[in-house]
């Protein structure tokens, strides 16, 4: 197990380097620069800026310098917010994204697993059809549609919740972003749970459990849930990574000062160090979540532990 974890951690490093290289290449391929604005700069000033940031050096030297900094986890300072280090910006915006993300994650898990289990246990009943129809809607409606609809209804019609503001947690301002963000995940988890549970409930060992005289609740909780939730586990790891690191659309919609919003700003500003920093951070989170899922799998399923 330990060897497995170490091996996986070693593979993580080249993966992140590849991701960063591609991101760096994409930034450089795009026309324009962080200092280009509406008005053209005088030649001399442009020359000064290029020298200051090393843009006059050959591209491979620039690349190697960037990479060597990143390998030392030094992402440098933002080009736009003078004097602010990238690490500082990430540290300030991560809690916002993480708060919304964890809440959305918990909501998606609790509601998704409950609804999915009920649908599986009462297969082909009206509960099953109703919840699966809702789940289909949840998956199909993009969050940039769902968000504004919720705002229109709860904020601009009923005046219950603020349309876009961040007052920290706990506050009313959390509710709409969390619901918008978790809807699709919730729906997907419900469908995964239902499918997983249906498969397990038909299996031989569930028949054995019933033949032992266990109650239906004991059969489901002790025998069925574990196997039924395995597909959910493999999905929720990466899902948690995406939710934690903020989502571009929802943070933009509700004007949350999180990672996602910073990422958009950085892209619009062509703020290369900040973009690379956020990309590196997100990929690291994603890869560690995948690793966590694999470890959790080993604990849940004794057959793959060996």
């Amino acid at each position: 197990m330990l060897r497995f974890i170490i091996r996986r951690l070693i593979i993580t490093i080249p993966t992140i380097l590849v991701v960063i290289t591609i991101t760096w290449g994409l930034i450089r391929l795009a026309p324009g620069n962080f200092y280009t604005g509406d008005k053209a700069l005088p030649e001399a000033i442009e020359q000064n800026i290029r020298e200051k940031y090393g843009l006059d050096e050959p591209w491979h030297e620039q690349y190697l310098r960037t990479m060597s900094h990143i390998l030392r986890l030094d992402f440098g300072t933002s080009l736009k917010y003078e004097g602010k280090s990238v690490n500082e910006i990430i540290a300030r915006s991560l809690p916002v994204s993480a708060t919304v993300g964890i809440l959305a994650y918990l909501l998606a898990l609790i509601v998704g697993i409950t609804v999915g289990s009920i649908a599986a246990l009462k297969q082909n009943s009206k509960w099953d059809y109703a919840s699966m129809t809702l789940a289909m809607l949840g998956i199909s409606i993009p969050n940039f549609v769902l968000g504004p609809i919720l705002v229109l209804f709860f904020s601009l019609t009923l005046y219950w919740l603020p349309p876009s503001r961040w007052d920290g947690f706990p506050s009313k301002s959390v509710i709409l972003p969390v619901i918008t963000l978790s809807a699709a995940y919730m729906a997907y988890i419900a469908r995964l749970t239902r499918a997983g549970m249906l498969e397990v409930l038909r299996s031989d060992y569930i028949r054995t459990a019933r033949s032992k005289g266990l109650s239906e609740t004991q059969v489901v909780i002790r025998h069925a849930l574990r196997g039924g939730l395995l597909p959910v586990v493999s999905y929720t790891g990466p899902a948690l990574a995406f939710l934690l690191t903020g989502t571009v659309v929802v943070e933009r919609l509700f004007v949350l000062p999180g990672l996602g919003n910073n990422f958009i700003q950085a892209s619009l500003n062509r703020d290369e160090p900040l973009i690379l920093g956020i990309v590196a951070f997100i990929s690291m989170t994603l890869l560690s979540m995948n690793l966590l899922v694999d470890i959790a799998y080993g604990f849940l399923d004794p057959r793959i532990r060996h």
């Binding site: 054995t208 032992k212 005289g213 266990l214 002790r222 004794p302």
Partner: protein, 341 residues
């Protein structure tokens, strides 16, 4: 405890139907039999003849929907199981009627230690504490011949071979000393040498505990040495019913005769092996007459037209056939001819 007549289980006119999109499948259609205390009853038949559905109906483990026990009585120790509440049935399952299933590879929970799966039984039914249940689980594993049971108890099912898993299943089923053990094709998924060991184990444990056994199988060789009584099922109906020796010696039904002739005889290596022609019928769309008529060697016009009567040949030998008497007589003559040689 006893009902007086010595019967532990009396099944009367049991009907279990499955309502599918393809029509109503009459998986079990009017099955009647008795099981005496301490006796072993064999149920034989091809796949889809209703053997498993019959026994699953006895402890009410039919998935509903689509399954439904339409009518009948299952009198176990004087009480009709079909009329009990769900809670009352649960107290019988595992405690008084235990089951083992065909595929030991999939019948144990792969996510749970063997010990926990065994402990579950006695903690539920006998009110054992954790320590008591664990000790009992180890003892049961020892009884069924698991080597080094103390160490193996905390292994997972995938760490056992197929034969060992079936031993674990048997140990689990017998852990509350049930009065009835239902073994649904317990050896079908195992290879031949292991089959013999498992059958021997069931036989020994049965003698030691006095448990009654219902043994379901499609292997006539298995039932011959194991059972006191036999039921032959076809298309959800009992085709023949007799003490095992009698049924093997003088079968009173063309289907049973066909089955017996299909068993390879190792003493005569020559000739082609007999086989019953055709396939088992689609029980959702049965013809009006005898369900076996399309495959029967001695079929006559009446067989296609009328459903056959259940003929009583001797007090404990009955056969579902228009010509049961004639078939029985033929068998007797054949028997005499062989013994006269």
């Amino acid at each position: 405890m006893s009902t007086g007549n010595g019967n532990l289980l009396e099944v009367r006119d049991l009907r279990t139907y499955f309502h599918t999109e393809d029509g109503t499948v009459k998986a079990v259609d009017g099955v009647t039999f008795n099981l005496r205390r301490g006796e072993t009853l064999g149920i034989v038949g091809e796949s889809g003849s209703g053997k498993s559905v019959t026994t699953l109906s006895i402890i009410r483990l039919i998935q509903s929907p689509p399954g439904q026990i339409v009518s009948g009585e299952v009198v176990f120790d004087g009480r009709d199981i079909l009329r009990l509440t769900e809670n009352e049935v649960r107290r019988i399952r595992g405690r008084r009627i235990a089951m083992i299933f065909q595929d030991p590879m999939t019948s144990l929970n792969p996510f749970m230690k063997i010990s926990r799966q065994l402990m579950e039984m006695t903690r539920l039914h006998l009110g054992h504490s954790k320590a008591q249940a664990y000790a009992h689980a180890v003892k049961m594993l020892e009884t069924v011949g698991i080597p080094d049971p103390r160490k193996r108890a905390d292994d997972y099912p995938h760490e056992f071979s197929g034969g060992m898993r079936q031993r674990v299943m048997i140990g689990m089923a017998l852990s509350c000393q049930p009065e009835l053990l239902i073994a649904d094709e317990p050896t079908t998924a195992l290879d031949v040498t292991i089959q013999a060991q498992i059958l021997e184990l069931i036989k020994t444990l049965k003698q030691e505990t006095g448990t009654s056994v219902i043994l379901i199988t499609h292997d006539l060789g298995v039932v011959a040495g194991m059972t006191d009584h036999l039921i032959v099922m076809y298309a959800g109906k009992v085709f023949e019913q007799a003490p095992t020796r009698e049924l093997f010696a003088v079968p009173g039904n063309p289907y049973t005769k066909g089955l017996l002739r299909s068993v390879p005889d190792p003493t005569s290596a020559r000739g082609t092996l007999y086989q019953i022609r055709g396939l088992p019928p689609d029980v959702a769309h049965l013809p009006p007459g005898c369900p076996f008529a399309p495959r029967c060697d001695r079929v006559e016009e009446i067989c296609h037209r009328e459903f056959p009567p259940f003929v009583r040949l001797t007090p404990d030998h009955s056969s579902l056939c228009h010509f049961a008497g004639e078939v029985y007589e033929e068998s007797r003559l054949e028997r005499e001819a062989i013994s006269g040689q």
